[in-house]
């Protein structure tokens, strides 16, 4: 299986909101779409899903145009969407039936996911003292986090081949964030194709091998995350010493990115400069507690690439 997004563009009036976006997934895994608010991530996802017409380009799944009605796609939108006044069980069943899941399988999967996501008490309330069997809760009776769990359930009920998740962790507490992460890991292990959009860079680094950073509809950086980082080199240096090292930093003309009372966060020109700096500290008997030379984080790359443009403008 493969997903190819080829030169897709979208205009609203004269405004180009997605400009010639292309990427490929030739194997299972997680692809990340990053960008500032209004960068065109959600529009791109909607185009991939076939929900929104594009002005140009194509989206191919196994070499054929992707049609979400015919391909088993699961979608978790950024803005949650549930019927507030209908019972949870009714609407989950409806979403599953729309994906052509038969009733029995749908019910089995609802039970499985309700249990897995710990929302059994809302979807299948236990019998009380009264004679009447209790009705499934309505969406407006749930907290935001629990609504999000129901939403994730509806995305997974069809056991999708392609899963598109837009800001999956927004509004979740740490426990539920971990729960969602574990479910995403399970889906990765099941060799699913996942496209994820998020503002949480550590999460992207945790899951994604390939990324595209969008800014105002245009691609700023694209490719394998490890290679992108490698291309920057190990130029970020975190140093913690017992003594004051300001004079060494000035002497070697190192760029201070951030300084806290105990640590320096520096930018070096390369590994040689870092080694020179460390040798000087050791020779002068400075007590080095921490000396960490590493590649820039995704957050730093993002801020550098997108932030620079924004600052200029």
């Amino acid at each position: 299986m493969s997903l190819i997004v080829k030169n897709i563009s979208k205009k609203y009036g004269d405004k180009l909101v997605v400009d010639n976006l292309s990427f490929e997934m030739d194997g299972p895994g997680v692809y990340a779409l990053l960008g500032t608010n209004g960068a065109g991530k959600t529009t791109s996802l909607r185009i991939i899903l076939g929900m929104l017409a594009k002005n140009s380009g194509e989206v191919l799944w196994n070499g054929k145009p992707l049609d979400a009605v015919n391909v088993n796609v699961g979608y978790l939108a950024e803005e949650r969407g549930l019927y507030p006044k209908y019972s949870l069980l009714d609407q989950l069943m409806y979403f599953a039936r729309l994906k052509r899941v038969d009733k029995q399988t749908a019910m089995d999967r609802i039970k499985y996911w309700a249990d897995r996501l710990d929302v059994n008490e809302y979807v299948f309330p236990s019998k009380g003292k009264g004679r009447k069997s209790p009705k499934s809760n309505k969406a407006d009776q749930l907290s935001k986090g629990n609504q999000q769990k129901i939403q994730l359930m509806s995305a997974l009920l069809s056991d999708p081949e392609l899963l598109i998740i837009d800001e999956p962790f927004s509004g979740l507490d740490p426990l539920n964030t971990d729960l969602f992460k574990s479910i995403i890991r399970e889906e990765i292990n099941k060799e699913k194709y996942i496209i994820m959009s998020s503002h949480q860079m550590p999460t992207i680094e945790e899951f994604c091998s390939d990324i595209t950073i969008l800014d105002r509809g245009k691609v700023k950086i694209q490719g394998n995350l490890a290679e992108i980082k490698k291309s920057y080199g190990r130029v970020n240096l975190l140093v913690k010493c017992e003594q004051d090292i300001d004079s060494y930093i000035s002497e070697l003309d190192l760029q201070v990115l951030n300084k806290t009372p105990s640590e320096y966060y520096l930018r070096v020109r390369g590994e040689d400069q870092a080694m020179t700096f460390l040798t000087r500290l050791i020779n002068d008997r400075i007590t080095v507690i921490k000396f960490e030379l590493r590649e820039p984080s995704l957050h730093e790359i993002f801020v550098e690439k997108v932030g620079a443009d924004h600052n200029e403008k």
């Binding site: 929900m51 009605v69 019927y83 729309l98």
Partner: protein
């Protein structure tokens, strides 16, 4: 096209199920059905029990007669009627004003009858105590009896018998006969409808309009709600917008048709029950309406009417669906529904005008136009069929025209729906709709 409509059945069954389960639907349906069921029996009771059928005794005990004419009057024939046989008639003597006060304050079961003559006509004037036991209906009943007695007496004094009187009162009719060039008679039947038929057609029009407005507003509300709570984004990953619209429109139409047919059945049952309260055991409608009024109501005509109503609901529901998709918030729905409301009003008023024209001058070009015009035909045609004023040819042309309009509207909706469904922001105007449609061709 098949792919575009795939999944509509799931949308249909879910939407219908949720509407039928809704408390608002159930309560309003129960109240309406109860009102329809009770309406005719209650009307029967009020009409036939209060007017009396000859056995109820009048609460009037005494009538003071102030005869200001030269006539010698006897009330024996009034006293021979069972409701009035206990009444005492007494000619006024003494102070009239004192008598008026006496009846108003003390003798409240008595009434005063003034008989006067003016310009050759006799006037009977009855006065009663305000808020006393004697009511308007009792006065009217006594007045009718006195008037009849008075007329009989006058006729008798002129030597006219009851048969002669009946002959005098028979209306004179005139008839115009036209002949063609060969001298053969040309028979031209009147196509005008009676007053009763007018009200019947008017009622059907109003009933269909209610259904149309109900369906339209339900469809539009449902679409805007799904847009505003973002459910539509999830739905569109499984079904195309057109399938979503079709499923929704048909579900809302089904719920409305269930209501409408149930109410017709309730009215039918109500009419049957009303026979328990009428004087001769007939149903209320058979008593109030002419015998030939329902001559055209049969199963075929009824089915044709149901099909027409269905098509009308479909046409207006698709219009409402497009209107609903042009807005993204519930509070903007009224603005978005302007086109739908205007179209409904135009259709209904053209229909009402045609019904009035039918009553006044029968079939003419305007009536035929309104029977064929797709905005008005769903409203007027069912009534016109039931009163026998729509020929099979007119029905066929109207159905074809309406079907063509529905297809055109569907194609238009299909072109713009995809854009409209995910539209958030200001209400889209008609001009923009045509632009979207043009751009998507």
């Amino acid at each position: 096209m098949k792919n575009n409509l795939s999944g509509w059945k799931n949308v249909y069954s879910f939407t219908l199920n949720q509407v039928l389960k809704g408390k608002a639907y159930r309560i309003s349906f129960f109240i309406m059905a109860l009102l329809f069921l009770a309406s005719l029996p209650v009307a029967s009771m009020l009409l036939f029990n209060n007017t009396g059928n000859g056995d109820d005794t009048s609460p009037i005990k005494k009538v003071y007669v102030n005869n200001m004419t030269s006539l010698e009057i006897s009330f024996e024939d009034v006293k021979s009627m069972s409701p009035f046989k206990h009444i005492m008639f007494e000619t006024v003597k003494g102070d009239y004003n004192f008598l008026v006060n006496h009846v108003s304050e003390k003798e409240r079961t008595s009434v005063i009858l003034d008989i006067s003559e003016e310009n050759g006509a006799y006037i009977l004037h009855l006065s009663m105590a305000k808020d006393g036991p004697v009511k308007d209906i009792h006065i009217q009943s006594l007045g009718d009896a006195l008037s009849k007695s008075f007329t009989n007496r006058r006729m008798a004094s002129l030597g006219i018998g009851s048969e002669q009187l009946s002959m005098i009162q028979t209306p004179v009719e005139y008839k115009t006969t036209m002949t063609d060039n060969a001298g053969a008679e040309v028979i031209e039947e009147s196509t005008a409808i009676s007053f009763s038929e007018y009200w019947f057609a008017y009622g059907v029009l109003f009933f269909v309009m209610m259904g149309t407005v109900l369906t339209g507003s339900q469809v539009a509300t449902s679409i805007v709600t799904e847009k505003s709570n973002r459910v539509v984004e999830y739905l569109l990953t499984s079904v195309k917008p057109l399938a979503l619209m079709l499923g929704k429109v048909l579900a809302m139409m089904t719920s409305t048709l269930i209501q409408m047919l149930s109410l017709v059945a309730a009215l039918f049952a109500s009419n049957m029950i009303s026979s328990l309260y009428t004087a001769d055991g007939g149903t209320l409608l058979s008593q109030l309406l002419p015998d030939d009024m329902f001559a055209n109501i049969n199963i075929i005509n009824f089915i044709i009417c149901v099909i027409l109503v269905f098509m009308g609901l479909l046409f207006y529901a698709v219009l409402a669906a497009v209107a609903g998709a042009t807005v993204s918030k519930l509070e903007e729905l009224n603005e978005g529904l302007t086109l739908f409301t205007l179209s409904t009003l135009v259709g209904a008023y053209v229909g009402i005008g045609a019904i009035r024209t039918l009553m006044g001058s029968g079939m003419n070009a305007y009536v035929i136009f309104s029977l064929l015009f797709p905005l008005s035909s769903p409203f007027i045609l069912p009534g016109a069929i039931q009163v026998g004023r729509a020929s099979p040819l007119i029905i066929c042309i109207a159905v074809v025209l309406l079907a063509a309009f529905i297809v055109l509207l569907f194609r238009f909706a299909a072109r713009i729906y995809e854009v409209l469904f995910l539209h958030t922001g200001n209400t889209i105007k008609l001009k923009q709709l045509f632009k979207i449609s043009k751009d998507s061709v």
